[in-house]
């Protein structure tokens, strides 16, 4: 099977080709080179124009501040929770909620949170007027606050489930039960012991996901549009604004901003790495100092409380969206709408059919392509005895580390230069860049853990490699394959910037529709659209969970794993 041999290379090309081309296509106009718009010579004018923008210091501070804060807080919550509750029923409960939580698109979670914490949101309504005395929504800037705190919160509620999943996946390899047994026997409290004996090895495994969270939080656009401040906005949002400006000369400035965004992310990652080294040293000193219990009880409760708060916020936010989508008259400060009706769904629903179908098309195609490539890679790895090294993991993470806003404008620039019409096909390939790593990461471990002796038995029974793959390995691993597909599908459904920039504004998905509604403030339209987006993402997970149960209803050996 010659073509299979080329699968890893093709995958790498699909993954890194757009990133590299996009970066080149961004860097050139940032240095003044963009022949289609008359830029033919190297010049520092775009950089100068960027530097002259009065909002720049604020935008840079927001980007860096929000990114670092969201990452530190998310990681801290996950670490405290896992430290205090590893192997307990609370942990098992949250694990159950992880898959649906992960499938909630960032935009929908951000809208849900906004509906909770806004001055006229559910929390204020629940406390008014009896506790607050408010008869009308207070004039407070909670959502889109200038410090970006709401945006940090919106990122944290989505990154906590992600980092938790990554931590839980890494945990078994460091054999936490044995380590904790030793630590507890030496008199260490559960949290102190975990932090000293387990965390350093777990962190080494989740380092790349943490970097991805940092890069993402610094450069995210949809969450920033919904929850972040507007004047100035975080740098990435301003870049997108310039990109969308009818004045095409602003593209130079946008490219300069995108390059700065990339530099900021690289700088922040460097800073983070430095922090790792320093904290690692201090941690070693702390571990060797021998303190057995340091606020274990309090930390344990804080871990549980914060984890519950983060997950609860997403769930309550979705509930709030649900209520708004069916709310008739709902004056402040009532906690519940006075009337309930399907009017909003009837009014906005039909208009969502076309973007809904587009979403399904794009997500379905991107997921199918990703799955085919990942399966081909894993099968090639198996057949040719390829041993993927640490470097291949870095390459897989690269599209998640390079800010979207740093390379997507470049791709758009190439299209403009070549006069190519970037339609749905290009958007699908753009989504593939982000879908593929997630599909690979979620399928690789169960695929590699499969007992290879099944293949030996099948071969001894006369089955060739193709038949072993199709009739033995794939059916046995149906559940993880479908789960990986559902993850990829949800990732695609949630994509905002690739759809917007590669589609040139002409490809409309539920996500671009929902984010476009953010400025308008029509809560019912937002609720209907964001819920539709969430439902599409969750439907994939529902199918992935249901299909193996139905197909293998009569096969007990496949239901345990």
């Amino acid at each position: 099977m010659r073509p299979l041999r080329g699968a890893p290379l093709l995958t790498l090309l699909v993954l890194l080709g757009p990133v590299t081309a996009g970066l080149v296509g961004t860097l050139a106009p940032a240095l003044g080179v963009f022949p289609a718009l008359g830029g033919r010579a190297l010049s520092l004018a775009p950089m100068a124009a960027l530097a002259a923008w009065p909002g720049l210091p604020g935008a840079v501070m927001l980007s860096v501040g929000v990114g670092l804060a969201a990452t530190v807080v998310s990681l801290a919550i996950v670490v405290l929770f896992v430290a205090g509750w590893q192997g307990t029923r609370a942990m098992a409960g949250l694990e159950q909620a992880l898959a649906p939580l992960l499938s909630v698109p960032h935009a929908a979670a951000a809208f849900g949170l906004a509906f909770l914490i806004a001055p006229s949101g559910w929390i204020a309504r629940a406390l008014s007027p009896w506790a607050t005395g408010w008869e009308r929504p207070p004039d407070l800037l909670i959502v889109q606050d200038p410090l970006g705190l709401a945006m940090v919160a919106g990122l944290v509620v989505k990154e906590v489930p992600f980092l938790l999943l990554m931590t839980l996946a890494a945990l078994p390899q460091v054999r936490p039960a044995q380590r904790m047994g030793v630590a507890r026997a030496l008199g260490y409290g559960p949290v102190t012991g975990w932090l000293k004996a387990v965390f350093p090895c777990v962190y080494a495994q989740i380092r790349l996901p943490v970097y991805a969270v940092l890069a993402y939080s610094m450069s995210v656009v949809d969450v920033a549009i919904i929850l972040g401040p507007g004047t100035p906005p975080p740098l990435s949002v301003q870049v997108v604004r310039w990109m969308a400006d009818p004045d095409l000369t602003l593209r130079f400035q946008a490219a300069a901003g995108a390059v700065l965004q990339l530099a900021l992310v690289i700088g922040a990652l460097g800073l983070w790495r430095l922090g790792e080294v320093v904290l690692g040293r201090l941690g070693r000193v702390w571990a060797e100092a021998g303190a057995r219990r340091q606020g274990d009880g309090v930390l344990r409760l804080a871990g549980l409380g914060l984890a519950m708060l983060a997950t609860g916020a997403v769930i309550a936010g979705l509930a709030g969206l649900g209520l708004w989508s069916v709310a008739g008259l709902w004056p402040f400060p009532e906690a519940w709408p006075e009337t309930v009706s399907a009017r909003s769904w009837l009014r906005h629903g039909p208009g969502l059919l076309a973007p809904g179908l587009e979403t399904l098309w794009i997500a379905g195609a991107a997921t199918a392509l990703a799955l085919a490539l990942v399966l081909a890679c894993l099968e090639a790895e198996h057949r040719f005895g390829l041993v993927p090294g640490a470097r291949s993991l870095w390459l897989l993470y690269l599209p998640l580390l390079v800010p979207q806003v740093a390379f997507l404008p470049g791709l758009q620039g190439f299209a403009l230069m070549l006069g190519v019409d970037m339609g749905r096909g290009a958007v699908i390939l753009g989504h593939l860049v982000f879908v593929l790593p997630y599909v690979f990461l979620s399928l690789a471990a169960p695929w590699r853990a499969w007992d290879m002796r099944y293949a030996s038995v099948a071969a001894a029974l006369g089955a060739g490699r193709g038949r072993v793959f199709r009739q033995v390995r794939l059916p046995m691993l149906l559940a993880p394959v479908l789960t990986a597909a559902a993850v990829g599908f949800a990732v695609s459904v949630g994509q905002y910037l690739p759809t917007l920039l590669i589609g040139g504004g002409r490809v409309q998905t539920l996500t671009t529709e929902a984010v476009a509604l953010a400025a308008g403030g029509d809560r019912r339209a937002i609720a209907v659209t964001a819920l539709a987006q969430t439902l599409v993402g969750m439907a994939g997970f529902a199918l992935a969970l249901a299909a193996p149960r139905i197909l293998w209803a009569n096969r007990r050996g496949l239901r345990a794993g």
Binding site: F384, G385, D451, R453, Y454, A455, S456, V457, A458, A459, A460, L461, G462, A463, G464, R465, Q471, V472, P475, M476, L478, W552, N554, R555, R556, G557, L558
Partner: protein
């Protein structure tokens, strides 16, 4: 020249010698290879099957019924194997597992089903074709695994400690069944085990590894 012959078989990993074996097993005979875990017993079987991991290197030749099969892909060698676990495919029914092993040459749905039913009846499992393998007892699984392998009409049988997980009573029974079926079909059998009782029951030559 019938039987299984290993001619100057040497397996190394990163240049370090692991196993070296010269052997000839006549049809219906059993060669027991004994050795502690880590002595390369399973690696030896992989080499004969053609599923040796790329980190190993092998020299020497494997002959089966006068044909040199060293370079053939595993599925073309007609070398059967039974592992410690039964490794019944969990997504197929008991009958489906047996049909998986049945050669394509047996044509027609009815003919294939009849062969499967006959194989099940031969080991006292008549009527089990539609069962989920996960619902079988240990002894039943062992019998299904054996018949699945025999239906594929192998020319030799490798046994990778296939009895070590069974409890004492069942163990003797399954062991007797496997050796009897192999003898009846005139298969050369290579048994690797760390249990002297298995080797004694096999009744053939014994080679010590490691």
């Amino acid at each position: 020249m019938a039987g299984l012959r290993l001619e100057g078989l040497r397996i190394t990993r990163a240049g370090v010698p692991l196993v070296a074996l010269e052997a000839e097993i006549a049809p219906g005979e059993v060669l027991s290879v004994m050795g502690p875990s880590g002595s390369g017993k399973s690696t030896l079987l992989s080499a004969i099957m053609g599923t040796l991991a790329p980190s190993f290197a092998m020299t020497g030749l494997v002959w089966l019924d006068g044909c040199e099969i060293t370079r053939q892909p595993p599925e073309a060698r007609r070398v059967g194997i039974l592992y410690q676990e039964e490794l019944l495919f969990p997504h197929l029914s008991v009958g489906g597992n047996l049909a998986f092993g049945l050669p394509r040459a047996v044509r027609g749905r009815a003919a294939r089903a009849a062969r499967v039913a006959a194989a099940l009846a031969e080991v006292g499992l008549a009527g089990f074709a539609d069962r989920d393998p996960a619902t079988l007892s240990g002894g039943q699984k062992a019998r299904v695994a054996l018949m699945r392998m025999l239906l594929a009409e192998p020319l030799a049988l490798l046994l990778d400690e296939p009895f070590s997980r069974l409890d004492a009573g069942l163990r003797a029974q399954v062991r007797e069944m496997v050796f009897a079926r192999a003898r009846a079909r005139g298969l050369p059998v290579l048994l690797v085990t760390h249990d002297a009782a298995d080797a004694a029951a096999a009744g053939g030559c014994v080679v010590e590894l490691g």
